[in-house]
Subunit: 297 residues, 2 copies
């Protein structure tokens, strides 16, 4: 399996920008420079995906339509939600300007979700069509993107390990991104996944370890997920893989997540907000509008 | 990625036996016939691996030595523990005869562990060297092998879903193998993995869901793992990836596993038996000698 991008100008540029982001985020994830690089990368991805054909995908999911990008060999990308995909660099700039100024109230949560989804899915689609079997790069990119946005909104960089000092035990606990807002304020526990499937139980389990080691209520679990879509390459049909009964059992018996944010939110999970006890599954754009509220309730 | 075996007589026979086991176990995992097919498959794997060269692997793990099988293209298999690997069909037959008669007290736990390890690792090595990037077949085979042995020892077949009837909720919970010994007796919860790494938290989390939904103490969590070795193809060096501090936190804060059984037990985990509170990490062979005891304590 070769993970090297094909030799072609815009793809070289994408590879180069990805490496720059990788380097810059390691020093300072919330830096303005990381956001600028993410914007440049998005622009390149729009240029590359503009050269692909769009093929409609069949789906039985009510109220959603999907397409895929297709390259010259007939290979198709992952599913792209037609209503969410709006490649628009001006919308990206408006969002980032508002984010930098922390003046987000003029934006709607759906417009923010569209901006983030469009950037994320266009990079993932380019990787799908230029690298063979590379699942890792889209996942890592998505962590940088969401991590940068979260860090920018909260104004602090995350850590990925916490000290354990527990009577006769000591050491460090490796974690997903943890954002520490300081004394007497909540800490955010932010797992980031392009999709969850049966691995999602890890998110509740990690939350439980944090609750157990440091005390219940100190960490707000707010995982961010791109989508739960799966498209069959052969039949060109999109399905969503959802396990709402399991989620309810995890929320009741393992730990309590504060929110689960999605870019392309599955209806079966959105409905959990209306069950009792509820699981608050929301579009990711809403985080930017409710972040302060979240820390108080 | 092609998963088809190369066309060669013994390999065709291995593919054919694997498919027969797959079919037979779906109807009756503990059937004598499944054990006989597993024995035939083991014999074929000994024949195939006998044709490979054995190359020593470097390792810094104290007290263990490893080698790998190497095919004609210079590709090497996963690491094989030299002390545990004893390809011996007579030892296999002695174990199975004792298992069928439930008269295991003349065997030692280390001799049983050797028999099971030798069968498991020889199949995995053949797949490593005949299929490109196939991680799934060794994992599925290992489930059949361990599942058959567990079912034979307990005398019941497992299920992989449990009914949920919880006030206003109803449905089925998909699970790893669950062995139900009947009223007033424990049920065994048996996750089976060729290695665990960071995914191991799922085992404790699933145990917690069972404890929460059905009551603590009703299910004995007894995962079975092959090894935690990782060998670098280039440097030909074996390392063990162990997270003992995390395991202790999971056992304290998520749920309590009754045993963790290994074929090639890592020293860092075996040592957890001597910590307080202990996690009982044991060689798999011991299960066959302590199964009755386990259900009482």
């Amino acid at each position: 399996m070769s993970n090297r991008l094909l030799v072609a100008k815009p793809r070289d540029r994408i590879e180069d920008l990805y490496r720059q982001i990788q380097k810059a985020q390691a020093t300072d994830l919330k830096a303005l420079g990381v956001g600028e690089l993410l914007g440049e990368l998005y622009a390149e991805c729009i240029a590359v995906t503009g050269g692909y054909r769009r093929v409609p995908l069949a789906t039985a999911i009510p109220g959603k339509t999907y397409f895929a990008f297709e390259n010259r060999t007939g290979k198709i990308s992952r599913a792209v939600n037609s209503d969410l995909y709006k490649p628009d660099l001006e919308a990206w700039d408006r969002f980032f300007t508002a984010l930098r100024a922390q003046e987000l109230s003029d934006l709607t949560d759906s417009s923010i979700t569209q901006v983030v989804y469009s950037a994320a899915i266009s990079f993932c689609a380019v990787i799908d069509l230029t690298r063979q079997g590379d699942q890792k790069t889209p996942g890592t990119y998505f962590e940088y993107l969401i991590g940068h946005l979260f860090a920018s909104r909260l104004g602090v960089n995350p850590s990925t390990r916490l000290p354990i000092l527990n009577l006769d035990m000591s050491g460090n606990l490796p974690t997903d991104y943890i954002f520490d807002l300081g004394a007497n304020r909540p800490k955010y526990h932010l797992p980031i996944k392009t999709s969850t499937r049966e691995r999602v139980i890890q998110v509740w389990a990690h939350q439980r370890v944090l609750d157990g080691v440091y005390g219940t209520g100190r960490f707000l679990g707010t995982p961010v997920v791109m989508a739960e879509t799966k498209n069959a390459q052969r039949t060109r049909t999109v399905t969503e893989i959802c396990l709402p009964l399991q989620w309810r059992l995890y929320q009741m018996h393992i730990s309590q997540l504060k929110r689960v944010y999605y870019l392309d939110i599955p209806a079966a999970y959105a409905a959990l907000t209306n069950e009792f006890p509820p699981i608050h599954v929301r579009p990711f754009g809403l985080f930017f509008l409710e972040a302060e509220e979240l820390a108080k309730t």
